[in-house]
């Protein structure tokens, strides 16, 4: 497997900005997917994804837990999405058409928790999920690339699924609790 997020972050901080490329490559798919969910528009999501990565790079010195790069990146992306949402809303508020351009749920991260749940996975499982789905490697290709038996790959993915499911259930419960708390 390639270097860990922590190692790439450290290399960027040590004066190798080109290594940020690997982090962009690793997370562009899930970040784009997350932002598409938030913004409801692919081109806006792409623009926001670029901006998120650039802001992340600029703020790398402030990242306290480099191993949590992806969840931190999602936090930045969430803020960028909100800025875009507000900006578009400001310019389109008088337009009925705005309702079709803006996602109804653009301000509701709970609608798009999958990427956040992936971010919460331990690194090994997270990378396996990213490679399988966002790099679109088959299990056979994963086994070859990682030099692992096929059975180890599928078992690891099974455990990753189980953790993802737990995480999603926990988020759903938390969301319900918040909603119930907010009821008058």
């Amino acid at each position: 497997m390639d270097l860990t997020d922590k190692e790439y972050v450290q290399r960027c901080r040590d004066g190798h900005p080109d290594d940020f490329r690997l982090l962009v490559h690793r997370y562009q798919g899930p970040l784009f997917s997350y932002l598409t969910g938030r913004l409801g528009d692919r081109s806006l999501a792409e623009e926001a994804a670029q901006e998120s990565f650039v802001r992340a790079f600029q703020s790398l010195p402030k990242l306290r837990k480099p191993e949590s790069f992806y969840s931190w990146l999602l936090g930045i992306a969430g803020r960028v999405a909100q800025e875009q949402f507000r900006s578009r809303k400001r310019h389109q508020r008088d337009r009925e058409a705005a309702e079709t351009i803006l996602a109804d749920n653009a301000d509701d991260p709970e609608e798009y928790p999958l990427e956040e749940a992936i971010a919460a996975l331990p690194e090994t499982y997270r990378q396996m999920i990213l490679l399988r789905f966002y790099e679109e490697l088959s299990c056979h290709e994963l086994a070859e690339q990682l030099d692992l038996p096929l059975g180890t790959v599928t078992k690891t993915l099974s455990r990753a699924y189980a953790l993802l499911r737990q995480e999603l259930q926990a988020r759903e419960r938390a969301g319900r609790t918040i909603n119930q708390t907010e009821l008058p």
């Binding site: 040590d14 004066g15 900005p17 080109d18 940020f20 490329r21 962009v24 490559h25 562009q28 798919g29 899930p30 784009f32 997917s33 598409t36 528009d41 692919r42 081109s43 806006l44 999501a45 792409e46 623009e47 994804a49 670029q50 990565f53 650039v54 790079f57 600029q58 010195p61 900006s87 578009r88 310019h91 389109q92 008088d94 337009r95 058409a97 705005a98 351009i101 999958l114 990427e115 999920i129 399988r132 789905f133 966002y134 679109e136 299990c139 096929l150 059975g151 599928t154 078992k155 993915l157 099974s158 455990r159 699924y161 189980a162 993802l164 499911r165 999603l168």
Partner: protein, 446 residues
């Protein structure tokens, strides 16, 4: 097969990767265990979601546009610098920008005053007219100190000529030149030559812009520039205006004016010191019939009044450029910029603060100890600089400060020195901490 073994095999089952015997065992367990059946159903649902998400993101590739911006952020900006390596490319909005812009423009046209809406239309037409460039040649003038790189507006300086040749096809090449300074990208490498210092810097790779020429390249990339300015005007609420004029030959001109605001706060040291960080009024003059941009004027916006700092008055579109333009013949004895190397006593210098480094640098110059002073320069010290700083004395050094527009390891040290002529000279010494050696190096500000 028990529950633990079964759950480990669920992904293999979903992916159709189980052997016959394992498949039968798994199936048998699922038929008897409701909990594992529920887990299997949940996994299958999760799998579908992941597949759908990955398909939706499959054609996204933002690595290069992001890295252009990241490397520009990493390298920029260098007040007074002669060592800015990488291009600045802040305006890249990415592959989907145009599609997004359509919706924005539509909304803008319906929600802004008529004049602004008309300006948006003119700019859109201008962007389309310049969308398929094979080459461009710009000639104009800029107010900038002769000893500076290309990117620093200075209302107090006289105009100097500035010229850009850019070939987009068959391969990207460019040249930017002003008196005493030329930067050339020949398709293989990028070179800056500073004639008064006989100093050169070579980046062994092609670049879309370098050495603080990014702002001019932005203008040369006309379609992107016009589009970007238009979108920024809409998104950021910049004042946008349109005037119709008639030239002496009777042709109608559309003049769009944009009041652009820098992202830097007014208190930042680099605010208004570089084109990228300046509040400016930009005036674009388009031919009303063809939509082609014919002239550009950029005014620095100040409380004391706007000052014209740059204008383009000749734009040649798609004319073949002589290949010789992209060749640079240099003297054999050029002082080439070199990557800093670690010293035997490197730790001593790496432990310095920016202020301590500034003190050591000026004290070495005062003693005319050029070996010591060279430890703060990433190139042979130019003779002109030796003559200027030799024998100087420190009058005062202030507290270092940073700028949001500068690199992450850049600091500026305010100083006043007495020169051997008896005159005093004060400014802000620009130092950058080199990540490889940990030492501070001169970036400018003398």
């Amino acid at each position: 097969m028990n529950c633990i073994e079964c759950r480990d095999e669920l992904v293999a089952r979903i992916e159709g990767l189980l052997g016959d015997e394992e498949s039968l065992q798994c199936q048998a367990h699922l038929e008897t265990c409701a909990a594992c059946r529920a887990e299997y159903a949940a996994f299958a649902n999760l799998h579908q979601q992941l597949v759908a998400r990955s398909h939706a993101a499959a054609d996204v590739s933002i690595v290069e546009p992001v890295m252009r911006r990241v490397l520009a952020v990493h390298a920029e900006p260098e007040k007074d610098t002669i060592m800015s390596i990488l291009q600045k490319h802040r305006w890249g909005l990415g592959l989907g920008a145009m599609a997004g812009a359509v919706a924005i423009i539509l909304a803008a046209l319906l929600s802004v005053p008529k004049t602004q809406a008309a300006a948006v239309v003119v700019m859109t037409k201008g962007a389309e007219a310049a969308a398929k460039l094979t080459s461009i040649h710009l000639r104009g003038q800029v107010r900038t100190p002769t000893a500076e790189n290309f990117g620093y507006p200075d209302p107090a300086s006289d105009f100097v000529s500035i010229e850009l040749w850019k070939q987009f096809e068959p391969d990207l090449k460019w040249r930017v030149e002003k008196p005493g300074r030329v930067a050339v990208m020949d398709g293989q490498s990028t070179v800056l030559y500073v004639k008064p210092l006989n100093m050169g810097m070579k980046v062994p790779q092609p670049s879309s812009s370098a050495f603080d020429t990014g702002w001019l390249h932005k203008i040369a990339n006309l379609s992107n520039t016009i589009t970007q300015d238009r979108d920024n005007a809409i998104a950021k609420g910049w004042k946008l205006n349109l005037a119709e004029e008639q030239a002496a030959d009777g042709r109608a001109k559309s003049v769009v004016t944009i009041q652009a605001k820098s992202d830097l706060p007014d208190s930042d040291y680099l605010k208004n010191q570089q084109f990228d960080y300046a509040d400016t009024r930009r005036v674009y003059r388009f031919d009303a019939q063809t939509g082609l941009l014919e002239a550009v004027g950029i005014y620095l916006t100040r409380n004391s009044g706007d000052v014209l700092i740059f204008e383009v008055n000749q734009i040649d579109y798609n004319r073949p450029i002589d290949p010789a333009v992209f060749r640079l013949d240099l003297p054999a004895n050029v002082n080439w910029y070199q990557e800093p190397q670690k010293l035997t006593d490197n730790e001593k210098y790496a432990a310095m603060t920016a202020q301590q480094a500034a003190r050591s640098l000026f004290e070495a110059c005062g003693r005319e100890d050029w070996t010591e002073a060279a430890k703060f320069f990433p190139m042979p010290i130019p003779e002109t600089l030796k003559q200027f700083l030799g024998g100087c004395q420190i009058v005062s050094l202030g507290e270092p400060f940073t700028s949001q527009g500068a690199g992450p390891t850049d600091q500026f040290v305010p100083y006043e020195i007495r020169l051997k002529t008896g005159e005093t000279h004060s400014y802000n010494l620009h130092l950058r901490k080199d990540p490889q050696t940990g030492r501070w190096f001169w970036e400018g500000g003398i």
